[in-house]
Symmetry: C2
Subunit: 217 residues, 2 copies
Amino acid sequence: MTSPVTSPATPIRLLLADDHPVVRAGLRAVLETEPGFEVVADVPTAEEAVELAGRCEVDVVLMDLQFGGRMLGSQATAAITARAGAPRVLVLTTYDTDADILAAIEAGATGYLLKDAPPEELAAAVRTAAAGKSALAPTIALRLMDRMRTPATALSRRETEVLQLVADGLSNAAISKRLFLSQATVKSHLVHIYSKLGVDSRTSAVAAATAKGLIRR
Amino acid sequence: MTSPVTSPATPIRLLLADDHPVVRAGLRAVLETEPGFEVVADVPTAEEAVELAGRCEVDVVLMDLQFGGRMLGSQATAAITARAGAPRVLVLTTYDTDADILAAIEAGATGYLLKDAPPEELAAAVRTAAAGKSALAPTIALRLMDRMRTPATALSRRETEVLQLVADGLSNAAISKRLFLSQATVKSHLVHIYSKLGVDSRTSAVAAATAKGLIRR
DNA sequence: TCGGGCATCAACCGAAGGGTTGATGCCGGG
DNA sequence: CCCGGCATCAACCCTTCGGTTGATGCCCGA
């Protein structure tokens, strides 16, 4: 066979964005040993990721979700994918809460991986993402299925937002000011949340939502 | 001077324990480029860390705190440091809650670092630990100072018990039944908790205590 | 021994949260 | 096109929570 194959004529160009130096080094080490990959750069902030993704020729961005600083990975993802001819964004995070996953997917992420993924899975996901196909970790896929199956558990975006603030310890009055709502609306959201979660108080709602991974910490 | 120094006659032998393959690769990459270090092995579980630390000649163990599996990093740390001639254990984790830090130090950890530490800091901490000296990240040191300075932050056993139930979503009435108390007593405990944490509601108390690592999630 | 922290309880009051009803506007799927 | 879910708000009522005052008993350390 005159196979024209095995030629990585154009390797997959990667941009790594993670605020942990150790993780960046680890991703580099894992991915550079893999054939067909080329790490163009690695950056410690979401802002730099957005900037470099626009300036450089990159196929896939590996993006952390929580950065120490202000900009969130999901915002950066949205900023990157908004442009025409944008690279694919593969979200790579430690957590698998519903809120994070949905935010990332809505922001235009092509895939969602957990950092405890083995190297092969990681490499496979990158190739899948580079091909423009969706790459979800098994855990994530399961969680999404779960969410589909029981729409009762699925809080709306606004409800999640309110509940997150409740979990942060804010009063209804404080939440209403923060979100530019009336207290009546906040209470209304809470009543819906309670019925969806099968609870009857703000504290138990936080406990239930935390257990289900609907909100952060 | 006939200095007998600068000779890395015996490099510092390291054992890496972390359930994230990417992090293990990253630590390897970061530490092996550093002169005077030798990574003996890296393992994905706390159990293997304990076993290898006993079998091999190791100077410093870099230990994660949260493993996917059952055994905790703090338990593994205790098991390793309990033996005579044991290697030093340097805890390396993502989180910096009081509970984690204290558990690690009580377990006999020589140092406590956060994973977002830059490589130089990491290397310096390993050398410090190898020399038998305590190596705490600045953030951690600050937090400990804080705890010492304001013993008010330390909740009593009973108060912690009550607050944990609050975090689980129980009402005062439910808590009083669970603990065989009157509601008055529960409220009394809560008032003390609020003043110690500097908050003014049950939900914000839970948020504050969770942030400080005083209760489990 | 005496003060002080911890744990326990009572009674009280105002405020915040919880629950209901009802209403409006928007949007998307059947 | 109309129904239903989402998001918004108002008015009302009742319960729980939050905060205070005050009191008892225990135990520990100065």
